[in-house]
Symmetry: C2
Subunit: 124 residues, 2 copies
């Protein structure tokens, strides 16, 4: 059954930050929704490029992509792609809502395992 | 070079409806941006599921997915996934802005070839 998916309705179902949920699956990729608050963990994905669209609020993305570590502001209505292998660390000073595109097998903490690792994502 | 991509700035660069542009590429997939106005053409993609997020305005998606032909409203802030093989026809009574996520090799008119077919997409 093909149905529309309302972003606001779906985000309203997410209680916790750093708890990505699957909103749609297509072509082996996930569309995930997550609330962010505070700083995540530095990590990379060796096999996956990762796309972020800021739906609400503001994201700061820490990047170690060759030069000195830097932090890039990603405002509401802006997107960023972090290529595979690049160490990154999402941060949101205020709560932010983010839509992600990435391969379905991508683990949120990449090469790192800690209490924020989510191996099995719920749907929303 | 990793850079942010601003949706409003990118849409401002698109002059014509039904002229999808590549905003980002990752994992063999495209993030495309398109302005829609009027009715497109009924078509399907035999090898690609297609994701639409309405960034501005309202999309009506014609669907022939088993039952009688139907038209689904997709409002601003809503998404829809059209699975491979399903005949569909996007329509926008007023100009709408849409973000698409689909395999990089996907041709916009799918199994149909007409004056709206775009084999080689520009970037934006």
């Amino acid at each position: 059954m093909i149905e529309t998916i309302n972003l606001a309705d779906k985000f309203a179902l997410i209680d916790q930050p750093w708890d990505p949920r699957i909103a749609a699956e297509l072509n082996g990729q996930h569309v995930r929704l997550a609330k962010l608050a505070g700083r995540f963990v530095w990590h990379h994905h060796s096999e996956a490029d990762e796309f972020f669209l800021v739906v609400k609020g503001r994201l700061r993305m820490g990047l170690r992509d060759g030069g000195p570590e830097r932090w890039v502001d990603v405002a509401e209505g802006e997107m960023i792609v972090v290529p595979r292998g690049v160490e990154h660390c999402p941060e949101a000073e205020q709560e932010a809502y983010v839509l992600l595109f990435e391969p379905a097998e991508t683990v949120n903490t990449g090469n790192v395992r800690n209490d924020r690792t989510r191996d099995h994502l719920g749907r929303v």
